[in-house]
Amino acid sequence: MARLLIKNGRVIDAASRHDGVADVWIEDGVIKGVGANLTAPAGADVFDATGLIVAPGFIDMHVHLREPGFEHAETIESGSRAAAAGGFTSVCPMPNTKPVNDNATVTSYMIEKARRHAVVNVFPIGAITKGSAGEELAAIGSMKQAGAVAISDDGRPVMNARVMRRAMEFARSLGIPVINHCEDLHLSAGGDMHEGAESVRLGLRGIPGCSEDVMVARDILLAEVTGARYHVAHISSRHSVEMVQFAKSKGLAVTAEATPHHLALADRDMKPYDSNYKMKPPLRGCSDVTAVLEGIVNGAIDAIATDHAPHPGSEKMQEFESCPFGILGLETAIGITLEQLVHPGKIGVARMVELFTIGPARILGLDRGTLAQGAPADVTVFSTEREWTYDVNKSFSKSRNSPFDGKMFKGGPVATVVAGEVVWKI
């Protein structure tokens, strides 16, 4: 096993509230210690992190790796490489594969594929219902035994409140969270973008903010009834943020994540009819963007997750209303978060690290997101200063659907260490 000394970086470990220049010593795939002026024994690798941030490995709790079933768009291997290049050491793929990850066989397949081909940790999320059809509960217990860390019917939210209630009861007994993509499918039916002045102007059918809010409200009530740990995926609307804050104030185990694109872009920033701006939830109005940013500042939102959703060019090169929803996210997440939250002074770097590490780790109950002695040696080294330009044609993803192609960033990932091995560096 490699031995690695990461020297002179500003080590931020949100879990232990460590924030200062230090060295990190890694041996046998675990953190052996964090301290000043550690010396590397002969033969150990040394990484000079002077001027850089050294943080626990970043966790993206919401990605789509498209394997099995859609390997032309992404594979567990290609997605894991994009994750590493984005500074992530762990990713949680959603179950909307083909077949749907609704049983232990698919979960085990993904974990085994990841063990052999992925360069980062892969923690699958299982489906709530069979085929994510919203009717019959999936094999939740055996998926958990096989390694699933949460359940979600992401993209095909459970519309039947009784089914959702039973899923929450079951998940509670298993100690795993229920994650919901909140969208009342009747209210959003046929919509292609956020409902508002922009959708009316462009003649596109709208996805109203209330389609998200209605389901967040329902789920919070069900979370109270069942006592389940409940997590709102990619929160995007003002009222939903307020409701999550309210649930927290009532002491409910309700958490939420936001995506970088919902922090950076509103509906009016869309290039008209460019499918690289088409995703669910859609880019919302300006007051929604402000509310999501504030939710991160005031703690209503617990994690940043990308909803990395690769689609091949052939599917994105169509009339807007025919294009699938979703954009890439892994490689631009750190850059956008710095730009939208840290550089304007809304949050400090320590809070940013929390949102990418211990935040998602706590939601999912992972023994990661910290540099404590004995923890798995997953480390993200990033810069807050280095200027770079995102070139989507050089992405490690197999797809190219990003609205951030050609964008200049100040700060981004520098090196990614998984289980003590440097899996990516600039």
């Binding site: 009316v200 462009l202 003649g203 008209p272």
Partner: protein, 312 residues
Amino acid sequence: MAQGLLGIEALSREEIQAILDRAKDFQPRDGQSFRKYDLLRDRMVVNLFFETSTRTRTSFEIAAKRLGADSVSITASASSVTKGESLVDTLNTLAAMRPNAIIMRHAASGAPHFLQRHLEIPIINAGDGTHEHPTQALLDARTILDRGAKLEGLRVAIIGDIAHSRVARSNVYLLSKFGANVVLCGPASLLPEALKQIAPGVTLTTNMDEAIRDADVIMMLRVQLERQHEPGFSASEYFQFYGLRLEHLKLAHPDAIVMHPGPINRGREISSEAADSQRSVILNQVENGIAVRMAVLERVMAGKKTDGATTH
């Protein structure tokens, strides 16, 4: 950069005025037919209609022929679209046959805008989904102006299925640029509040009498059943609340005109008596369609020859 015509929203008032002025030159005189020109000799235009159309397609075709251009018309059902070809591939294939412009109608909003980003050849939008129908707004403006009116300060009531109407959007953009007051009227489910924000001078009402009171122009829209995806008004109730009848005209300005982009559904959004009344300019609109489209085709294609050489 291709200079087609994708919508009214992006045009300046001056550009619109130039097209309207030129269209006047092309209007037939003294009961004659449209004069034949050779302004677009050696030019070729493709009419590509992915949605059914009688008046717009015929109008563009006649306009092209009257200017001396060759024109080819293609309907989606007869094209390789039914064989699973993507829109981009269809357009690339047609572009390779070197027409000077493509006139296009498509059911998806923004389809021509999306294609124009990937194609050099100018595209003329003959209606995209529920977004824009620029030549309709131009011919409507020409028709209003022919009545001797000025657009500035005019009160125009647009009534019907506003949400799904590309005619309404293009007219709102055009009329607003010229300082008209536009009242949009329809059932609440077909009248999104956000319409107020898309251009200055726009007000909304769900009350038809209120919309028509003192109006100089009453523009009726067809109920677009093919674009509605949920249960709406019953036909009889729609006509009762939003169908134009002769008695409504008493509320309007004495010289008010009644317009309709067609096809009209008698007894659904307009009574036969109103459609055929002295106030109706529906057939003038159709006639102006050719004059306006001649002006648009000339603007887009003059100076560009089929051999690829560009003369200035």
